[in-house]
Amino acid sequence: MSTIETTDTSLPVYTPKDFTTDQDVRWCPGCGDYAALAAVRKALPGMGTKKENFVFVSGIGCAARFPYYVDTYGMHSIHGRALAVATGVKCANPELQVCVVSGDGDLLSIGGNHTIHTMRRNVDITIMLLNNKIYGLTKGQYSPTSETGKITPTTPAGSIDYPINPIAIAVATGCTFIARCLDVDMKSLDTIYKRGMAHTGTAFIEVYQDCNIYNHKAWFYASQKETMFDSTIKVEHGKPLIFGVDRQKGIRFNNGRPEIVTIGNDGASEADLIVHDETDKFLANMYAQMSYPEFPEPMGILHADPTKPAYNDLLYQQLDESKAKSGQLDLQALVTGNESWVVR
């Protein structure tokens, strides 16, 4: 249902401006959400979908203000429930391109159940998780992705919660499109977002997003030139896992486990490295477990399985099959039932 209608000549030529509302954007200056918004506005004109067929749904939180700023149909719902609402939108009208943009508190804490089950069902929705590892709108409490030991207003002695791993959750649910990107990496975000929207089924995109008020620099290890080349690895389908400032490092399997090697040393050549295959769910599992500093954190499209039918498509398939079997509808016969009797 999310096929791009490139042949549709009636489609107006859009620019990002067409997807910009008259509402003032109220995020804090320097917030990573600006980058995500810009990427989305830039991506939408190229999707081959009519403007009126986009629906943005969000929950609650800073990121959840997103729909107000995108000039399409949109709903700012309640805390945690964006995906449940979006499921209803998509199932009511599968022609719509449905996107959910929300934060880590919304999608992984209060709304965690819906995140799991939407991905499990493979509802054709694009999810952008703006993960800043903090509760911004409620003024800086730790979130389910905050690191253990985090000092916040509710954890003055340090958080004793272990953080959740969003990619591992996505893999566990059988999510059919899993990606990760950095908020300031506009080019990759654009590519990933477009692929995610074009994907049939749930697309889950985790964005490392900087909250420069309550959790500034949380992702600096992954975003700053000094460390990013060692702390992250961009995966590309069909290409070996290579990273590092001079692209001298790679990842190979050693006795079934991933291992970092320096290409040319230790008898390791490029040919020994793991080649990224986005259709391979075993690799997706491995990526989910790779975290810095033990490993570079994989960025890009980690997994894409186009073969699993989307929930909404199966729903309509059953409706169609039932209609085809039944022939002419007879409401009176239904209401009367099979066991009626006549009083004369």
Partner: protein, 626 residues
């Protein structure tokens, strides 16, 4: 086929009879009672049923908490309840007898499967060592106790069938049904056809159908030949209006009402729900109607269910969710969202006894205040309550009609009693049911200032239902307070005050679109009995009896709880005393008192059971005579 000519037993004609079948939850009592009901319906009796089963699917065998019962009241007159007192009972085991004997009238027929009254079984249901109720003289004197070795007779009648003991044992309920068919002069043909359809045709087990039919016949012949009953009983057909009739339960009627509304509105339904007793059968029913473009989603939880329904309504379907009281509590915040968004939404609440898990299979009317106020802040919604199983059809259509007309959530308060209970229903001509008109705005409706998603219809105050996919009407709605017209986020204090009042006023105006409250009896007088929802049958029967006793009393029954019909105050002020029976501690009383400053006298019994007519007669009469 056995016929009346083969017996010499005399026959007594009765107006109506209440029979209760009871036994272990695995004894097939619901099926047995259902078959007796079907047969009586086809015979032309009026009837009302009361299935009463435990929450446990298969409680430990032989225990009192595993007892399942099915009561059916059938009559040659119009009846509204399954009856207070049982005239005849079939108890398949000691536990069934122990739990149910108290409801049998003195002199009533009690047929027991005496083979099950073993030492072990008697102990299992807590009878003292050495005591057997079948040997209790007091019981023998008080009731017409008929001991039948049903297990043994069933076994003997099927001895040549070649079937295993387990399958044969399962036919005992049909043997019992056969006895009861003979006793009440019912034909067995209907049940034979049913058994063939159920076992032979659907399950491919013709041999099972065969032995069940044999057991049924054996039971019938036993009645005829054993001469244990001094008389047979005949309940002639009721005088009913000509027409096509069917049997219907409340949840079935809800399903049919929703589908009919969908067809009349030319709109697809999306029903999202999480399984919960006693609402689940609404989802079961709708799930089989995909051909009518009914989409059902079994959500991951109650909150997801309502939010998915809200999303569906936003996108242009009729979004519906169904639940019972505990689920309604979970949906509270999302109901607030729906009324803030001003989208049509129907919330089916089949009430059950609580709070918390409470008595999940038992009935109650205690969610009225939750329906009215169980949300944060000022959040009025429409509240409706069907009054009988068949009324669920009409009120389900009403729920959809009003939700769409006023762009608002509607809570539909059914209850476990009418949801599971069944009655005969004169099938309506669906072509006579009015269409439900829906207008979705298009680009042509956009004014100079652009599309205003919160511009209101001057009459109903409802806003336009613009759906995604419509060019030129792109807009955002949300849970934040919004500017009265543009729908943009607004923190303006005066705007909020105005919006709070507007949302309340919109629901008040619904009174213009609903019928007036009708009074049964004199329009003025000393005593008015005011009821609501599923107690209609008990109250109506009680009123008839009180009048037959020579007293004057009027009654009125509310199906619209918010807003009340516009003449409600006028009706109430026409009487000196207002009696309000409800299966809660006085929730409608509280609403009436606070809204109209009118004193009320409550009759409040909260036992997880429908009102006993006798109790109502007694308590209302007390007020009438005082």
């Amino acid at each position: 086929m056995p016929t009346d000519q083969t017996t010499n037993t005399p026959s007594t004609t009765l107006d109506s009879v209440v029979i209760r079948f009871c036994g272990d939850s695995g004894d097939g009592m619901q099926l047995t009672g259902g078959q007796f009901t079907d047969t009586s319906a086809l015979f032309g009796n009026d009837f009302a049923t009361f299935p009463d089963f435990p929450a446990e699917i298969r409680a430990p065998k032989g225990t009192t908490f595993g007892v399942s019962g099915f009561q059916v009241h059938f009559s040659s007159e119009s009846i509204y309840t399954p009856g207070d007192r049982v005239n005849a009972m079939v108890a398949m085991n000691p536990a069934g007898l122990k739990v149910n004997l108290v409801d049998v009238e003195p002199g009533g027929i009690v047929i027991v499967n005496e083979d099950e009254f073993t030492k072990g079984n008697l102990a299992k249901c807590g009878y003292l060592d050495g005591y057997n109720p079948l040997e209790d003289e007091e019981i023998a004197n008080k009731y017409n106790l008929v001991k039948v070795p049903m297990s043994r007779l069933t076994k003997e009648s099927l001895a040549d069938s070649g079937m295993g003991a387990k399958d044969i044992n399962r036919c005992r309920n049909m043997f019992a049904l056969g006895i009861v068919y003979w006793l009440y002069e019912r034909p067995i043909e209907q049940t034979k056809e049913y058994l063939v359809k159920k076992f032979a045709e659907k399950k491919g087990l013709p041999e099972i159908a065969k032995i069940n039919i044999q057991a049924l016949q054996a039971g019938y012949y036993f009645g005829e030949t054993a001469e244990v009953f001094p008389s047979r009983y005949r309940v002639p057909p009721a005088k009913q209006e000509p027409g096509t009739y069917r049997q219907i339960s409340g949840n079935e009627a809800t399903v049919l009402g929703l589908v009919t509304a969908s067809q009349k509105a030319s709109k697809s339904i999306l029903y999202a729900s999480y399984p919960i007793t006693p609402a689940s059968s609404v989802m079961h029913g709708l799930s089989h109607l995909k051909r009518f473009n009914i989409k059902t989603i079994q959500s991951e939880d109650e909150i997801a269910a309502i939010c998915t329904a809200i999303g569906a309504s936003f996108a242009g379907d009729i979004g519906i969710t169904g639940t019972s009281g505990p689920g309604l509590a979970l949906k509270g915040e999302a109901m607030g969202l729906a009324l803030m968004l001003e989208l049509p939404l129907i919330i089916i609440n089949v009430q059950r006894a609580g709070p918390a898990t409470g008595l999940p299979t038992k009935t109650e009317q205690a969610d009225l205040l939750q329906a009215m106020y169980g949300r944060h802040c000022e959040s009025p919604v429409i509240v409706l309550a069907p009054r009988s199983p068949s009324d669920c059809f009409t009120m389900a259509i009403e729920a959809v009609r009003l939700a769409i007309k006023y762009m608002t959530p509607v809570i539909y308060l059914s209850d476990g009693y009418i949801a599971n209970g069944a009655e005969p229903w004169k099938v309506p001509d669906v072509s006579s049911i009015p269409e439900i008109h829906i207008t979705h705005p298009t680009e042509a409706d956009v004014g100079e200032d652009g599309f205003m998603p919160y511009a209101r219809d001057p009459e109903t105050l409802s806003r336009p239902w613009a759906i995604p996919g419509t060019p030129g009407l792109e807009h955002r709605i949300g849970s934040l307070e919004k500017d009265a017209e543009s729908g943009n986020v607004s923190y303006d204090p005066d705007n909020h005050d105005m919006m709070v009042r507007l949302r309340a006023e919109k629901i008040e105006r619904v009174a213009q679109s609903i019928p007036l409250l009708e009074v049964d009896g004199d329009p003025t007088g000393d005593v008015l009995v005011l009821g609501w929802g599923g107690t209609y049958g008990s109250i109506t029967t009680a009123i008839q009896q009180i009048r037959a006793n020579g007293h004057k009393v009027s009654s009125a029954h509310l199906q619209y709880l918010n807003p009340f019909p516009s003449n409600t105050e006028e009706v109430l002020r026409s009487f000196k005393k207002i009696v309000i029976p409800e299966i809660n501690l006085g929730q409608l009383s509280m609403l009436i008192r606070s809204k109209y400053l009118i004193e009320t006298i409550g009759i409040n019994i909260v036992k997880g059971q429908p009102f006993k007519v006798g109790t109502l007669v007694e308590q209302i009469t007390e007020v009438v005579e005082s």
